[in-house]
Symmetry: C2
Subunit: 262 residues, 2 copies
C-alpha cells in the first residue's frame, strides 16, 4: 500500500470543521479519487490514530459518517471496506410494452435479460384480503377486498425489490392470476386475455430510508435508501385493474422515463 | 402528556434483539400509531433511562437509529422531536407540456402553483465551461464546451432542489438563455423560439444518501436521501439540446410518470 501521508493530508487546526468530519472528508475524497477502490480495506483505526494523532473514538466517528453515506461498510473484526457498487439495473421506459408480454416475458425477466443477470422470484404469497384505504382510493372506492400477490425479486442471488400487486376480486378471483404461477407474460398478459386490454400505467416514485423490516428483506447496507414505487395499470376502458406497490434497493436501480413535450 | 408506561411497553429480556433496538422499535411504533405526532418532543433521555432502566448511552443509541431513519431530529439542548413531514410536491407527468410554456410558466412555477407554494430561485450562476465526459456523452461527442446554468429552488423559503442545465454553445451562446433571467416560459420556451421544437424528454432517476455539500445546500435533516434526476431534452430533429442535472430533497417530492402499455 502507498504510505498514508501520500494519500491523506493533515488536519487543519484553524478550521471550524470538527476533526472527525475533516478525517471523513479526506477519506471520502481519497475514495472519490480512486485511491481506495471498491472492496479495498481502508487504513485501520490504529493507522489513522497514528497518522492524525487523534483518539480511536474520533476515528470511529469518521467511519460512522462514511457508513451513513453508504460509502463504506464495516466487517466485524476485519476492518472497514469501500462498499462495492452493485451492478445497477436500468428500467427502460418501454418495459411494459406489449411486445415483451407477447414473447411471454414479464417486465422483471426483460430487465434481467438486459442486465445478463440470473433472475429469481421468492417469498410468494397469494391471498384475498381487505384493501387498505390507499389501495381502495387507487382501484376505485367500490373495491373493498382484493387479491394480493406478494413476492421478492432477486438478481444473481441478491434481493433487489419486493412487490405486492393488488387486483379487484371481480377480475382476478378464480383465474390464473390467483395461482402461485400466473404463467407466461405474467399477470399483465393474463389481464389482457381476460379482456382488460392495457392502455397505460401510472407510476409514483418516492425515496426514503428503509424501515428495519425492509433492511432485512432487501439485505440493505447502511446508508442505502429505498425507492418506493406505486404503479397503477389502466385498461382501455379507463379502469384501474391493478396496483403494484414496490420497494426497491436504491443502489440497484436506475429508472428511466420519457416525458412528452406537447 | 400521557404517562410513559401507557405508551411504551417494557423490554423483552429473552429477545435476541439488542436493547437499544427494542427501545427504538417501541418509539417508532408509537410514532407510527400517532402517539407522538409531527413536531412532538419525544420523552427525554432521563425519562427513558428511568422507564427502561438502561444507561443514557443506550437511549442515545436508540435515538441515533431513529435519526438515521429520518423519523426524528435532535435540537441541541432541547431534546429529540418527531420530524415534521414537509409538504410534498407532486411532479405531474405532463409538467413539460407546451401549454405551460405558452402561458409563460416554467415547470417549477407550474409545480409551485399546484402546491399553492411561494417559489423562489437563487444561487444563480451562468457560465461557459468544459463539458464533463458524462455531459458530452449525453449531448453528443462533438460537444466539448457548454453553457452551464446553476440554480437552487426554494418553496416557501425551504430549499428543495438544485439543478444545473447544460446547453451546447452553438445553440445557447449570445441568446437570452445565456442571461441570468431567461424570460417567460424558461429556457425551453427560448429553445423553441430558436427553432428547436421540443419533441420529448428522457429522465433517469436514482436515489442515494447526500454528500456533505448537498446536505448543506438543501438543508437536509439526518436520514433524508436525495433523488438524483438527469433529464435530457430532445428536439424534433432528434438532437439532445439540453441536459439538466437535478438533486432533490427526497422528502419534498413525489414524481409521477406515465408508461405506455403498447
Amino acid at each position: 500500500m502507498t504510505s498514508l501521508p501520500s494519500i491523506l493530508g493533515g488536519l487543519d487546526p484553524t478550521s471550524d470543521r470538527a476533526v472527525f468530519r475533516q478525517i471523513a472528508d479526506q477519506l471520502r475524497e481519497a475514495i472519490d479519487r480512486g485511491r481506495f477502490k471498491e472492496g479495498d480495506k481502508l487504513p485501520s483505526e490504529a493507522e489513522l490514530v497514528e497518522h492524525y494523532g487523534v483518539s480511536r473514538m474520533t476515528v470511529r466517528n469518521s467511519f460512522s459518517i462514511l457508513q451513513g453515506e453508504g460509502l463504506v461498510h464495516a466487517e466485524h473484526g476485519k476492518g472497514v471496506f469501500v462498499r462495492p457498487r452493485p451492478p445497477v439495473r436500468r428500467l427502460a421506459s418501454d418495459r411494459f410494452a406489449r411486445r415483451h408480454r407477447e414473447q411471454g416475458k414479464s417486465a422483471f425477466i426483460v430487465e434481467a435479460d438486459a442486465a445478463s443477470s440470473q433472475p429469481k422470484v421468492d417469498s410468494l404469497e397469494v391471498k384475498e384480503e381487505k384493501a387498505s384505504q390507499d389501495i381502495s382510493n387507487r382501484l376505485g372506492d367500490s373495491v373493498r377486498r382484493v387479491l394480493a400477490r406478494r413476492r421478492r425479486y432477486l438478481l444473481d442471488g441478491r434481493p433487489v425489490e419486493f412487490a405486492t400487486s393488488y387486483l379487484p376480486l371481480d377480475i382476478a378471483r378464480g383465474t390464473q392470476i390467483a395461482e402461485p404461477n400466473p404463467g407466461p407474460g405474467g399477470i399483465y398478459a393474463r389481464l389482457e386475455e381476460l379482456g382488460h386490454q392495457l392502455d397505460h400505467f401510472e407510476e409514483e416514485i418516492r425515496a426514503r430510508m428503509p424501515s428495519p423490516s425492509e433492511v432485512k428483506t432487501l439485505q440493505l447496507a447502511a446508508g442505502v435508501p429505498v425507492i418506493h414505487l406505486i404503479r397503477t395499470a389502466f385498461d382501455t376502458a379507463g379502469r384501474a385493474v391493478e396496483v403494484c406497490d414496490t420497494v426497491m434497493a436504491a443502489d440497484a436501480y436506475v429508472l428511466s422515463y420519457q416525458l412528452p413535450a406537447t
